[in-house]
Symmetry: C2
Subunit: 352 residues, 2 copies
């Protein structure tokens, strides 16, 4: 079964891998030990794993949160939940990838992430990257695309097919963020009319990424909708702390509608939804891998996203490429994410 | 189109109707004016209405709540959200009912309820009553059956067909109440394994109405489930104030599972559901008629419930019949409902 090509790949693997890790949660103050450039043993593959030589990674808000809250550990913690690279080895149960494939994935928080030169990853979470995008533009996609797809089509209940939701409306709070920019594009592809909020300097970005109507989040959202004759919507994605948007969402959601969010909050005034028999859904992209439930759906979603990219339906939200993947460039990216109000994704690319 | 039979019915209708009403919210203390026996003009039918001569009504917790909170009004407020009777007239758009039909329905809070001898009701909310039950046993069914059906099959997402959910498990908090007793039966019919809570003197009732495993709500529910090797469930119906059950529900729900309730509460610690990407759904039976959304689905649900009753799959939860429908018997029924811990339904029956 093993081809000569595969033999060559396997033969040339090193015995160690570079990685960027840390041993305890830290703030970006400069006075604490932060990320470290490490050399670790090569990961050991499980039967369903791929070994990927990582060429580009992206940084998400979940990275900064996990960096801050990591409890002290003796094994280094490796973050990174967007990776693109080449398959250089695979477990014996993997049938649908070949050595040499260029793949992309978000992965799981339960194993070391993409901030390492050679990463072991469950092949069910992986798909071939879009052929029309380079590794950098591809690295911007996985986590936000998976989150947006699951929220729209598995949580809000819209149908994932071109034009399938014609005549229905979605309100997207914080459309210009990483998830929002993918969600608006997917919503538009599926036929939804997209009403999205941002600050008005980001209205151009909203329109480029699928918004039909832009709304200023500093102003009253319901009033802005009424001004365009909209009194309610079929679904609401709150891609921001939902606390201050919940009354508005309860007012605008249609009877039996769904409101979904992904930003941690302890309590919500959920009673506001009862008169309309409305529902509240959490979208958390890591639930599938945390609980080993329906993991292969994430590989399939990434396949469909790659197809839509290659058909010109979706575009990458890549905004900035930082050359080199190391403790210094990773710290720089975390600092930018924590600064907030970034639109689009920051990607680290090149050598570890 | 009009038959002689219909002519006779129309000719013999009186010009007034007895009704039981009140003009302002009140407590059952005896020192305030309470329900009054009234004589009102006959209701005027809309095109889709039936005029029903009411023969039995049931009382639900929603009656006592609306009785307590009614704002002062000059038109008498008529409660009653379970009615059974005979169709004696109909609007010109009604095609699927004939004069003389024996029907049952819950109705709407937006119009006068079933506590009147002649009630106008939108025919889309109505079905023919089960043929194998008398009017009293039929009157116990509509509101609780609609609520249970919608919660199970429109909210928790189970499939409404015999045995369709085989292999899945539901936890029912407060299984012995009005909604719970119908919900357990429907759940069992649809193939679910039913774990239900009550106080242990109601365990016999739980088993009679579809529970597979009884749980004492005074004890730790998760521990009782672990004792029968259950660590999680596919759906949870909290038919009680969800506040004190929410942590337990978050612990026991499967990833991506749904938790539904119907008891008013302002806030819930909804963040507990995020790690599992779980959802919270409200079931409120009056949303369809409040917002005129999918109203005909309630007539169809009641048709299916009547069929299941006539097939011997579902049984009525009727527990007590009070003869006579008047201010005195209605007050008596409200007092019993407010006393709490009733299992099964109280029905008023006979002459107004």
């Amino acid at each position: 079964m093993t081809t000569l090509f595969e033999e060559v790949f396997v033969m040339t693997l090193p015995t160690t891998t570079k990685a960027i890790g840390f041993y305890e949660g830290f703030e970006l103050k400069g006075d604490q030990p932060g990320f470290q450039d490490l050399v670790l043993p090569m990961p050991v593959l499980k039967a369903q794993d791929l070994l990927v030589q990582v060429q580009a990674v992206s940084v998400n808000p979940v990275d900064t949160k996990q960096r801050q809250t990591q409890v002290k550990t003796t094994k280094p913690r490796i973050l990174g939940f967007d990776g693109v690279g080449q398959v250089v080895a695979k477990g014996e149960a993997v049938a649908d990838f070949a050595l040499g494939d260029m793949v992309y994935y978000a992965g799981t928080t339960k194993r070391p992430g993409s901030n390492m030169a050679y990463q072991a990853i469950d092949s069910r979470l992986v798909a071939e990257k879009p052929t029309t995008l380079d590794v950098n533009a591809s690295a911007a996609l996985p986590l936000t695309s998976l989150t947006a797809w699951e929220l729209l089509f598995e949580k809000l209940g819209f149908t994932p097919a071109p034009g399938a939701n014609q005549g229905q409306k979605i309100l997207v709070v914080n459309g210009a963020g990483g998830v929002g920019s993918m969600l608006m594009q997917l919503a538009k592809w599926s036929g939804l009319r997209v009403y999205a909020t941002a600050s008005n300097q980001n209205f151009d970005w909203l329109m480029q990424y699928g918004a039909d109507v832009t709304l200023d989040y500093h102003q009253n959202i319901a009033e802005q909708l009424r001004a365009v004759d909209i009194v309610n919507v079929d679904g609401i994605a709150i891609l921001y702390n939902p606390t201050n948007y919940f009354q508005m969402a309860a007012d605008l959601i249609k009877p039996f509608g769904h409101i979904a969010s992904l930003v941690d909050v302890q309590t919500l005034p959920i009673g506001l939804l009862k008169p309309k028999s409305a529902s509240f859904d959490w979208e958390f992209m890591f639930t599938k891998s945390d609980y080993n439930v329906n993991m292969a759906s994430q590989g399939r979603i990434l396949q469909q996203v790659a197809q839509l990219v290659d058909q010109g339906v979706l575009k990458s939200t890549l905004r900035e490429v930082i050359p080199g993947i190391n403790a210094q460039t990773l710290t720089q990216a975390h600092r930018q994410i924590e600064g907030g109000h970034t639109k689009g994704k920051i990607v680290l690319s090149g050598e570890f």
